[in-house]
């Protein structure tokens, strides 16, 4: 019974990872693609590791799997942020459907020094 439940969780996790991959191909620009990679990818991989932790039922395997989840949650947002920022500083244009750009003109130079909203 537990095995069936864990199998379903594993399939759900794989589907989320598949959606993240499709999102990387389908979404229009680098900024929107980062959304798919950072959220669906993290969630899919994290869910897989949690499933493994439950399935193993041993503390030494479970603790390593849960440490993996913690590192995913810490690193995925940072890499998404760095990629989006590097793309903007390098001057990659957002998709033409972007409705509002508060960031425009706030980068002072190519080193990425960023001014605040009010100055």
């Amino acid at each position: 019974m537990l095995d069936i439940f864990l199998g379903c969780l594993l399939i759900a996790a794989a589907i989320f990872n598949l959606i993240a991959a499709i999102g990387l191909l389908r979404l229009p620009d680098v900024y929107t693609r980062m959304h798919a990679a950072s959220k669906a990818g993290t969630f899919g991989s994290g869910l897989m590791l949690v499933t493994i932790a439950i399935h193993a039922g041993e503390i030494n395997i479970a603790s390593r799997a849960l440490a993996g989840v913690a590192f995913f949650l810490l690193t995925a947002p940072i890499s998404a942020h760095l990629l989006a920022r590097a793309a903007y500083v390098a001057g990659i244009e957002p998709w033409s459907g972007t409705v509002r750009d508060d960031l425009k003109g706030h980068y002072k130079d190519k080193q990425g020094h960023l001014s605040s909203d009010d100055d």
Binding site: F16, I19, I22, G23, R26, L27, P28, D29, Y31, T32, M34, H35, A36, S38, K39, A40, T42, F43, I59, L73, L74, A76, P77, I78, A80, H81, A84, R85, Y88, P94, W95, G97, T98, V99, R100, D101, D102, L103, K104, H106, G112, H113, L114, S115, S116, D117, D118
Partner: protein, 158 residues
């Protein structure tokens, strides 16, 4: 605050020493028993703030898990629905939190929640720039962050 946590850990080790078994499970059990002991003396020795803060941090973790799940479902829908009818935008968000670790925590939480991705923080730590994949009302989104994550972080970490 940290002192009480250390006392809690010390009591857990004491429990293991008295029991004569240093397994992981026994350590966890000792930790739970010693927190119960600290909770019993909360009026006399002022440990209630420690427990309040523990609850706030646990609340923050659950809020985060809920938002993460909602955000995954929303991104999955945006990826799979036919056509490209979403409205992405970059918005600025005036920060109330000001220390670097609070900004890091807030930026990470924002990235993992529905439709938002932190892009950069201004040099003076006053403005966070966020990319939203599909936003209708910018003011409502700012208000959501201010009354949701930012307030919880301020409550839990100060």
């Amino acid at each position: 605050m940290n002192k009480i946590f250390l006392i809690n850990v010390l009591l857990a080790f004491t429990w293991c020493a008295v029991q004569g078994s240093f397994t992981f499970i026994n350590l966890i059990f000792g930790f739970l028993i010693s927190s119960a002991a600290l909770w019993l003396i909360r009026e006399q020795f002022g440990t209630s703030k420690y427990f309040n803060r523990t609850w706030l941090i646990i609340g923050l973790i659950f809020l985060f898990l809920k938002e993460l799940f909602l955000s995954v479902v929303r991104v999955a829908w945006l990826v799979l629905k036919p056509g490209q009818s979403y409205k992405p935008s970059f918005i600025s968000y005036p920060l109330t939190v000001d220390s670097p670790h609070e900004i890091t925590l807030l930026a990470n939480l924002i990235t993992l929640t529905p439709g938002t991705l932190s892009v950069d923080v201004s040099d003076d730590n006053k403005t966070l720039y966020i990319h939203c994949i599909d936003v209708e009302d910018v003011e409502a989104l700012r208000k959501d962050i201010r009354d949701g994550f930012e307030r919880k972080i301020l409550e839990a970490l100060r």
